[in-house]
């Protein structure tokens, strides 16, 4: 499998950050870990965008992953991080597989809004579930790793390490998909679905497959977010959360598998700074940033890096 130079750099950076994690301030570790969780969801969105689709409801699978972790921990007393991660990915993937039969039939705005509708149905169900804390949600605690019970500081580093591993594996997997004939087919379906069908490809099953992959990635993201923040609530599937993922996808661009993670990190930094300076109007700062990106870099921040690399070659 051929790896882009940018992906090699990204993987190297992740390893370096992990190696330095004991010396990185906790709040920075927190931002990077959450960026990893968000980036996983956006990586799935990037695949949709390659297909010419936008999901406005990807928070559904993010929330499904988080609640799988939370419910297994709360109700079945499962505490192992790895087990919780795997279970969250599987449940979110299964949910995506089932919904995919319907979603894969729709295109354009119908696909986007139908995905949004499903996420809002889950929101409604969770809000009405007293046993799951209704709008308050509930806390996720008592996590272990392979039978060990690290102290809170060590746990943050463990979670950070697990996030890095999941992100790296996801980057390599999605890169493999995109570099294969399947990857070219995504762009072909976006460009001319009818022609792709006339060449023997099934756009519907391709979209369904991508929907499941994106669901699993989002499930992993949700599990990480639940374990890192230690709290889950129905807002994780609210439409504004899906909107944030779309924002990050636009911010990062779809030019590379690394772009969603760069976008997610920058979003996390902007959000933290904006919230710090103006807790009541931080959304306005985010909005201004989005307008600036669309006007100046319509293909996202990644296009800026691509341009810089091109210029350096010249």
């Amino acid at each position: 499998m051929k790896l882009d130079k940018s992906l090699v750099v990204m993987l190297g950076l992740l390893v370096a950050i992990f190696a330095a994690s004991p010396w990185i301030p906790q709040w920075i570790l927190f931002i990077i870990t959450l960026a990893g969780a968000n980036g996983l969801v956006v990586l799935g969105l990037m695949l949709f965008m390659r297909l010419g689709l936008v999901s406005f409801g990807q928070a559904l699978f993010f929330c499904a992953g988080a609640y799988t972790t939370g419910m297994l921990s709360l109700l079945l007393k499962v505490s192992d991080i790895i087990l919780l991660m795997v279970a969250s990915g599987i449940i979110a993937g299964l949910l995506a597989y089932l919904l995919g039969f319907l979603l894969a039939k729709y295109r354009a705005i119908f696909f986007g809004l139908l995905s949004l509708a499903f996420s809002m149905i889950l929101y409604g169900v969770l809000v009405k579930s007293e046993t799951l804390g209704s709008t308050d949600g509930f806390t996720v605690s008592g996590l272990t790793i392979l039978g060990l019970v690290p102290d809170p500081t060590q746990m943050k580093i463990v979670l950070f390490g697990i996030t890095i591993i999941v992100v790296m594996a996801s980057l390599l997997f999605v890169n493999m998909v995109l570099k294969s004939p399947r990857g070219l087919l995504l762009t072909a379906i976006r460009d001319n679905e009818i022609r792709a069908e006339y060449m023997g490809a099934s756009a519907k099953s391709t979209i369904h497959l991508i929907y499941v992959i994106a669901g699993v990635l989002s499930g992993f993201g949700g599990a990480i977010a639940a374990m890192v923040s230690g709290h889950i609530d129905p807002n994780m599937t609210f439409w504004t959360t899906s909107g944030e993922f779309v924002f990050i996808a636009i911010l990062g661009g779809i030019g590379s598998v690394s772009a969603p993670f760069i976008g997610a990190l920058i979003f996390g930094v902007i959000q933290t700074i904006a919230y710090g300076y103006s807790p009541n109007t931080w959304q306005m700062t985010i909005g201004i940033c989005l307008i600036a990106v669309i006007l100046v870099l319509p293909d996202g921040l990644w296009s800026l890096m691509a341009k810089m690399r091109k210029n350096s070659r010249v």
Binding site: M1, P181, R182, R195, G200, L209
Partner: protein, 269 residues
């Protein structure tokens, strides 16, 4: 007598009050080259769309090599061995010419990997014995598109887009190929060169061809049989020399002067 590989039996198709196809009965022999003629709206493209799965006939049965394909979607029909090109070339416009062909061979690679999530671009496609890249380059060269291989298809000249469209259809190694107005938008000077090249490749592959065409010179030169459509019906089905002298074909489709000109040119040749 060649084997009959495609049969259309009593096909009918209406769009509201408009009858697009009426009692169409056609047998297609393996290896034949058939010209489909008719004025705009006569039912030629409807016929092609029904055979290739884009439209489902209201009544009637289509069989290919004994298999009923009447209700199959286009991708299944392509997989069975019937492919088509389009009047307006249907390409992947953000990709290069080479990538367009790589997608075509990539789809075959994915089909042959039997449901695998993905397969390597460098893997050999078993039934072709070559990699996707090798096959795409070979195809680009075979169709004379080498100088355009790295250009985005949206900026390619009309004739080149037509050839690429046909090259993509041929990449599936179809048993039957439908060409929808292959020379439309191609200059008079280039059309015969282009058709000679395409027909040679198609003959070498042993593919049966049905082509929709308005240019009677092209029809006379390449077809062994003509199906003339008028108001959704086939009004003549014969050798071009005979079909183009048919009274109704002369009256409704070709016109006396054009028919005389074309037939005279053929006899001169």
């Amino acid at each position: 007598m060649s084997k009959i590989i495609l049969t259309a039996h009593n096909l009918n198709k209406s769009f509201g009050a408009v009858t697009a196809a009426s009692e169409i009965n056609v047998d297609v022999a393996e290896g034949s080259c058939i010209g489909l003629i008719g004025t705009n709206g006569a039912g030629k493209t409807t016929f092609v769309n029904m055979i290739t799965g884009y439209l489902k006939p209201d009544t009637g049965v289509i069989t290919f090599n004994g298999v009923d394909i009447t209700s199959l979607p286009p991708r299944k029909i392509t997989q069975l061995g019937i492919c088509r090109s389009f009047q307006i070339p249907q390409l992947y416009n953000t990709m290069t010419a080479l990538e367009n062909l790589e997608v075509s061979f990539g789809i075959i690679a994915l089909q042959e990997s039997k449901g695998a999530l993905t397969t390597s671009s460098k893997a050999i496609i078993p039934s072709y014995g070559k990699t996707i890249r090798e096959l795409a380059l070979e195809s680009i060269e075979k169709y004379g598109l080498l100088q355009y291989k790295d250009q985005a298809t949206k900026i390619l000249p009309g004739g080149v887009r037509k050839v690429l469209d046909i090259a993509m259809a041929m990449s599936t190694r179809p048993k039957i190929l439908f060409l929808d107005e292959p020379t439309s938008g191609v200059s008079a000077e280039e059309k015969f060169d282009m058709m000679d090249m395409i027909m040679q490749v198609i003959r070498d592959a042993g593919t049966t061809v049905l082509f929709v065409e308005h240019d009677m010179e092209v029809v006379m030169r390449y077809s062994q049989r003509v199906l003339a459509f008028y108001e959704g019906k086939i009004i003549a089905d014969d050798h071009p020399d005979i079909a183009l002298k048919d009274d109704r074909v002369l009256k409704y489709i070709v016109g006396h002067s054009q028919a005389q000109h074309v037939l005279a040119e053929k006899s001169d040749a």
